[in-house]
Assembly symmetry: C2
Homo-oligomer: 178 residues x 2
Amino acid sequence: MADAVLFEFLHTEMVAELWAPDPDPGSGGKKKSLSVLEGLGFRVGQALGERLPRETLAFREEVDALRFLCKDLWAAMFQKHMDGLRTNHQGTYVLQDNSFPLLIAMGSGPQYLEEAPKFLAFTCGLLCGALHTLGFQSLVTASVASLPACNLQALEGHMCFRQGNEKTARVPGGGAVP
Amino acid sequence: MADAVLFEFLHTEMVAELWAPDPDPGSGGKKKSLSVLEGLGFRVGQALGERLPRETLAFREEVDALRFLCKDLWAAMFQKHMDGLRTNHQGTYVLQDNSFPLLIAMGSGPQYLEEAPKFLAFTCGLLCGALHTLGFQSLVTASVASLPACNLQALEGHMCFRQGNEKTARVPGGGAVP
């Protein structure tokens, strides 16, 4: 019995509890649920950030902070590293997880794609909160083209956060971060 | 950065989100919040129970299941064992944690005592759900006499669950479980 599954189960149940069904498409119910989950993630990300060793807080470049999140934060959360980090060198970063643990519990058929955002909102907020504690303002959005893979896109210099509607994140002229 | 704190931070924020302020004392708002947290814990406990190795599911006596929860489940959740397990040999068990991690973030003065139930409801539900998967119906309640210590009381043969109001759990004629 790994303690990692405890976080994953709690996350799943929290999403089920906080995800309001949307009887009226005009009511903004889904948007509200997403922002509640993002806000919750933001505060957890901030709290995690405040536990970091002091030298971690001295990243001068956002790319170094993102490298840290892709390795150390992902290892602490999911016992693995992010699969890729790309940037267009103009403040846009795409973090790529080919098998995002919080999406694995879902089915993998395309019919589940529209369910994905609620399982990504907490993590978008968390990355945003951790970056905030590290001194960087970034808009973090998520996109899924094929479950359970996902891309998380951090846009430097923008206020947190807004759930992406796009199906795939594109980084024009982008390259992998070494 | 330990992944254990991730669960604790998420729990804290979930409580903050789901704990409804109670403008009208007659509205049952607090009771409803507690039962939401308990229900969430129950489902997480069930899910954890279903991940257990098969031999674990063959406990014949509830006391063996409780011993397992005090050691293995507590170790997975909080990286430590429960401090004591007592029983009156009549189906009442008291699990004693002298420094319950989900209460440590609170202040330790007596003025915080009335805040404690909301930080215990999820865990009551979780124990109840895990016991349920192991084949035992138990009412699990919590009581706090002095923060951050708490007693969790499991009452065999009763339906889950109800938050205790008593300040200390008493086990008449009780003795420690070896």
